[in-house]
């Protein structure tokens, strides 16, 4: 991340449109990216963390977007990942609609409170239609600007 505060969100964290058919494949792709970015070693463990969270309650919060997330010691720094899905994937969402956009948060336990605060403002932003609109329809650049803006603490 530009501000160099040890939290990870770079253009590399945007996976673009990934070709997947199931929720599990989504998790595998996200986890693989976390490993290739060097913030995690065990992709399998991350997939499992996502799954466990998903069993408690779906992270699909309606409108075709989901926020799979986990508090996990399998990552070294707080990380945000973003992907669009090549086709709608069943997610057991609260509005029963399949998911085509995924914004994911991975947080190690003991993350510093400034990071947690920024991540919480990202979660809050998801309740604002204009922000979600960018995530759903924007170009990769627009998405990057939007998320990075929130995580840099510059958001309105």
């Amino acid at each position: 991340m530009r501000k160099g505060r040890g939290m990870l969100f770079t253009r590399e964290n945007i996976l673009g449109t990934i070709d997947v058919k199931t929720q599990e494949e989504v998790f595998e792709r996200l986890a693989a990216r976390a490993v290739s970015l060097g913030i995690a070693h065990d992709a399998q463990a991350i997939v499992r963390d996502y799954m466990e969270r998903e069993i408690e309650a779906s992270t699909g919060f309606g409108g075709g977007i989901a926020i799979p997330h986990s508090k996990t010691d399998d990552v070294s720094v707080p990380t945000v990942l973003f992907a669009r899905l090549s086709q709608p994937v069943e997610w057991n969402s609260i509005d029963d609609k399949p998911v085509q956009t995924v914004i994911s948060i991975l947080v190690p336990s003991g993350a510093n409170s400034e990071h947690l605060r920024l991540l919480s403002s990202l979660s809050r932003k998801l309740m604002h239609p204009e922000f979600v609109e960018i995530l759903n329809k924007g170009t990769d650049d627009e998405v990057f600007e939007a998320i990075d803006g929130v995580l840099s603490g510059n958001a309105s």
Partner: protein, 479 residues
């Protein structure tokens, strides 16, 4: 002045939903013209903690919870109009909930159910929490059922017919009330097991524990002499809860992992524990329960009174702490097996400490601080009807004399209660229970309470006078 809302949100990970729902409540509420304060209990700890004034001024309290809220935290919303819902539900139905706050809200009373005094010192451990989750779910079944039965029995006592439905016979209303009331008693055991399991292992553990606890309590299905009652429900609730937690850790092949929560855990737990319950747990727990009931009914009178003294003393000892809970749990668990005199002791003893403390402040005001005297009226009223807690401040101010007095008086009142055969079938509103038919015989109950109270007040005055004198002497020596 605009109306205002306070809310608390939390979720298991404390990363996403806590904040999403907080934001949704805030935006939506402000759009509707409310002043909104939202406390988030997330991975970053408690943020925007609600102040006393914010809570006091709030017209509504919204609790959107993904990991529950314990009593100690909840107490601050006593007397407010509270809307409580799961955090996922809040996200889904925020518009309809916010649009109909008055309709969704329920007045919340912090100590609505008398558990023989709730924990005031945070001493209840995690394990006890699971048990109490089961108890608090099961209690309304006996309260509702017990009151229906009480009404039915009173009607019969006053000459109403008690007629079962049969060919050409319509059941009488007294019979209907009695029978439906007794359903409450038969459901409380499986509900208890189910909620213990859910408290430990989450929702997937609920159904298997419910079914198995029901099975364990059905002597006709098991072919045993008695049902396993609460012992069965506790054992099964705990085992199923932890079993579900273990299952959840298993790595399943892809694509079927999503079935874990609603298919695999309930099914596998049920299969395993239904068989275990039928062949082992049920008969063993039933034998234990039977043994306990037989032992309690066959022990010599002297030993029974000693036991009653012990239970009474334990109930009075820590006013809702672990010792009280243990004695309470023992007494209450016998209710499911039709043994009511130990629970009668609870009815007598749990109202004594706060009432005695309040009365003592009027007889000997000089022994108490101004704050203690001011609190006497509410302590007496709450103590006599709802909970033992109001005794706690008096005990904390002078632990040795107050607790000694409470314990001795509690023990004696417990023994008297047992000797006179006081029976309590369900918790109600304390000192008025005999009038509701929940405690009988009424005369015996009031004798036990009266003797206990006189003794308790006398001991408080004696012990505290001595104690205060010693404190004064010590202070002099030090000076």
């Amino acid at each position: 002045m605009s109306k205002s809302i306070v809310a608390v949100t939390n979720c298991p990970a404390g990363i996403a939903h806590t904040y999403m729902v907080a934001e949704a409540i805030k935006t939506k509420g402000e759009a509707l013209g409310y002043e909104v304060h939202v406390e988030t209990q997330g991975a970053n700890g408690v943020e925007n903690q609600l102040t006393k004034d914010e809570i006091k001024d709030a017209d509504y309290v919204i609790l959107a919870l993904g990991k529950g809220m314990d009593e100690d935290d909840r107490v601050r919303f006593d007397g407010k109009k509270v809307i409580e819902l799961p955090v996922s539900e809040a996200l889904k139905n925020i518009d309809s909930v916010m649009g109909n706050l008055e309709g969704e809200a329920k007045p919340y009373r912090a100590t609505s159910v008398d558990l023989g005094g709730r924990n005031g010192t945070g001493a209840v451990t995690g394990f006890m929490n699971h048990l109490m989750a089961g108890v608090s779910a099961a209690l309304p079944f006996v309260i509702g059922g017990g009151l229906l039965m009480a009404i039915g029995s009173i009607m019969i006592q006053f000459g109403a017919p008690n007629i079962e439905p049969a060919d050409g016979q319509v059941a009488s209303i007294a019979w209907v009330l009695n029978t439906i009331g007794s359903l409450g008693f038969s459901f409380m055991v499986p509900v208890m097991g189910a909620w213990i399991a859910q408290s430990i292992g989450g929702k997937p553990a609920l159904a298997p524990a419910f079914i198995c606890s029901y099975l364990a309590n059905s002597s006709s299905l098991l072919g045993t002499q008695t049902g396993a009652g609460f012992i069965g429900a506790v054992i099964i609730g705990i085992l199923v809860g932890y079993f579900a937690n273990t299952l959840r850790k298993i790595q399943l092949p892809k694509n079927i992992h999503g079935l874990m929560g609603f298919l695999i855990i309930p099914f596998v737990s049920l299969l395993v524990f239904a068989l275990l319950t039928y062949y082992f747990i049920g008969p063993i727990a039933a034998a234990l329960m039977n043994g306990l009931v037989v032992m309690l009914s066959s022990i010599p009178e002297g030993a029974k009174l000693a036991g009653a003294f012990l239970v009474g003393a334990m109930l009075a000892f820590d006013m809702g702490g672990p010792v009280n809970k243990a004695a309470w749990f023992f007494s209450f668990s016998l209710v499911a097996s039709g043994v009511y005199d130990w629970y009668g002791i609870v009815g007598v003893v749990t109202i004594l400490p706060p009432m005695a403390a309040a009365i003592a402040t009027w007889i000997r005001p000089s022994l108490f601080t101004e704050g203690e005297r001011d609190a006497a009226v509410p302590a007496l009223i709450v103590g006599a009807t709802v909970a033992t807690e109001p005794a706690i401040p008096y005990a904390l101010a002078a632990p040795l004399p107050m607790i000694s007095a409470n314990v001795i008086a509690g023990g004696v009142a417990g023994a008297i209660s047992m000797a006179l055969g006081v029976q309590r079938i369900a918790p109600g509103i304390g000192i008025f229970d005999p009038l509701l038919g929940l405690i009988s015989p009424a005369w015996a109950y009031y004798i036990a309470v009266a003797v206990g109270l006189v003794l308790n007040v006398a001991l408080i005055i004696i012990f505290k006078s001595i104690w205060l004198k010693r404190q004064a002497e010590k202070a002099q020596q030090a000076a």
